[in-house]
Subunit: 412 residues, 2 copies
């Protein structure tokens, strides 16, 4: 089907979308501070409505504030191809995380309009509410809600730091839509996103074909020793929770290296009482373990738990391990991945397969339909920061691959 | 000389001193909150003056607020035997830390009065100002000042958390004395103190003969890696400042164990940004290294610095090490230690030699005269806490040894 396209996407038009979006909630350092359901979010939502109308799309809003722009297909009874992501950002975040996926959908539709192409299937562009979980502390809230991972009262009652509920905030910006407008099905779901990591750049690849989202476990590890004065307490009389934790962490990284592709992070650690001349009585840390193969991850976790107990026994400390959060791996659809690969190759672009370490709305969409994600390089892997950057040519490549993939899948 | 003593100390009188002191600044949990130059400190100082008078001592106060009670000797031209410590406490601290040393001095003098014994040398009891460094952040301020480790303007200008200077606080409680009253010399300095550690209790000894105060170094270690997202960043691409720190700390403890008696503590550690799913870019910690042998400590420190650099090189991190504080070891006088040992043995008490890990006024007193310290057991080594405890019989043993030691030394 790609050969039916008389021309490629319109770079200038797409750049205008990006430019306009980058003005709404702009920070002094050229980033975006556009928290979910804030005034800035209202402004970009109002803008999106205008863009939907200009592109000839029918706009609807559901009761979670998710916004849809629908372009009819030749066969309106077929399930749609859904293209989506989110327009909310992290606090002082970047211009592309999420935003790209929605604006790319617009550009795909406008390109089809330019070429007077009507697809077989309807196309629906979605802007999901509160993907970041930055204001309302539950990431991927809108996509999780429509796929029934969260029930409505849970969503409506979540509060931001000031105690404002999701429902209040939604009402305040006038985006309480109708339950009947919720997306209920999709043949395909496609999401274009910046990588937020360095792999594409380091491997000099233009397109990332995302195999899935890594499974992830967060364990709270609490190492309990005995608080003592550093001066009088002999080494052999100590039960030092930090010394013990240091040995545990070193061991966990050794274990990690024995499993190909496993990623382990101890990013958060608190020492108690955290005084220079006091032997720490208690150290608490969070262990983040990720892999796209759930079985491998579980095996590694078992080995880790065992090693923690063993080290504690050696050190005279005790350790408790509590699961804070577990998220199984999501593997994307092979047909969709194949279409992305073919489109990439047809366009003469280079590609590699990788797995997303972060969560995305794509995580929940396999409950509705065949899902795939496309990554483009982010400069130096920077994301969730104001200086998040993607080169224009990479952005354009990504949108082009998305357009071709839509055409490919529609022809299936 | 001990056989000249017709009887031992008066337990009831000594207990009354302790009881009264324990009421001034008493906390709900039976501890003491008597910060230097506070109203509670004024109250106990006023009480001490009364006790000095009752014991027939001449009271003077110097320009740092240090209080002296002098008992004349047969030969007033001889340098005095000084007995001292401090009446200020940690915030929500214990009843004995410091306090014991001053009250024991009183009881020694009263026991001599009971027996109508006049020593050859004058005896001076000292209550040093702000030993704890809890309110004005410089420990052993009064003893350090008279031994010219701190100059007067430095001492007067030190501020507490509220911005009140030492000088203002001293004026406020009416304890600005005269420069001419500063202690200028001592033949001997004796300090009785609770151990603040578990060694006596664990070894079932009644008296600790303190060989000196351990030398101590505080190093600020800053490990710099690269902040990255936990999700997308492959293990081999990481420069994890916490993983690197964990390996460094493990190695430092291995090195420590290869030096007999060396004590190493990492009690304070901060991770940046300290977020569970972010590979730490920077970890800063304080390394506390102690030993009574300065040469051994320096050798160990050199090995540690080398090991830190080596680990950083292996991990692709970088490390900076800055000396925050260095305090050479203080070794007490052999004659004084001998007198303490002899007194202990004469009294049929058990003893062991140990080194103080914490600082005390005794640290500065060797600049004036031959110094020694006596430790008594603290229950479970607890100190700097409201539940700091010493058994009555241990307290009495300590005062008795102090009295006998004074008599021994006076006969030299």
């Amino acid at each position: 089907m790609p050969n039916k396209l008389s021309k490629r996407i319109n770079h200038e038009r797409f750049n205008r979308y990006v430019k306009r979006s980058s003005e709404v909630g702009r920070t002094d350092n050229n980033g975006l501070h556009r928290l979910a359901l804030s005034q800035a979010d209202k402004e970009i939502r109002d803008q999106l409505k205008v863009w939907f109308e200009q592109a000839g799309l029918t706009t609807t809003v559901d009761d979670f504030g998710n916004m849809y722009g629908r372009r009819e297909g030749k066969n309106p009874h077929l399930k749609p191809i859904v293209i989506g992501s989110h327009l909310d950002t992290q606090p002082y975040g970047g211009r592309f995380d999420g935003v790209l996926g929605v604006l790319a959908g617009l550009e795909v539709v406008e390109s089809l309009n330019d070429d007077h192409i009507q697809t077989e299937r309807p196309i629906v562009i979605v802007n999901f509410t509160n993907e970041e979980g930055a204001r309302f502390p539950q990431p991927m809230l809108g996509s999780g809600a429509i796929t029934e991972h969260f029930n409505k009262s849970f969503v409506y009652e979540i509060q931001d730091e000031k105690g404002i509920t999701f429902e209040q905030a939604l009402q305040e910006i006038g985006y309480v839509g109708k339950e009947e407008y919720r997306l209920k099905e999709a043949e395909y779901y496609l999401e274009l996103h910046i990588e937020q990591g360095p792999m594409l750049e380091r491997n000099s690849k233009q397109i990332g074909v995302v195999g899935g989202i890594q499974g992830m476990d967060w364990l709270d590890v609490n190492v309990i020793g005995e608080k003592n004065h550093a001066g009088p307490t002999a080494m052999e009389d100590r039960k030092d929770a930090l010394a013990s934790s240091a040995r545990m962490i070193s061991t966990l990284y050794e274990i990690t290296n024995s499993y190909s592709g496993l990623k382990t992070t101890v990013g958060k650690l608190h020492v108690h009482p955290n005084v220079a001349n006091v032997v720490p009585g208690n150290v608490e840390w969070v262990l983040d373990v990720r892999h796209e193969d759930d079985t491998l991850r579980m095996t590694a976790l078992d080995e880790m738990r065992h090693a923690l107990k063993q080290q504690a026994a050696l050190d005279g400390t005790s350790v408790t391990v509590n699961e804070l959060w577990a998220s199984p791996a999501v593997l994307f659809d092979e047909d969709v991945l194949g279409a992305i690969e073919k489109s990439t190759d047809n366009l003469g672009l280079t590609r590699m397969k990788l797995y997303s370490g972060a969560g995305h709305d794509s995580k929940y969409m396999p409950y509705f339909g065949k899902t795939g994600m496309i990554f483009i390089p982010s400069v130096q892997g920077v994301s969730h920061r104001e200086d998040e950057l993607s080169h224009d040519h990479d952005l354009h490549n990504g949108v082009e691959v998305l357009l071709h993939t839509v055409m490919q899948l529609d022809a299936n």
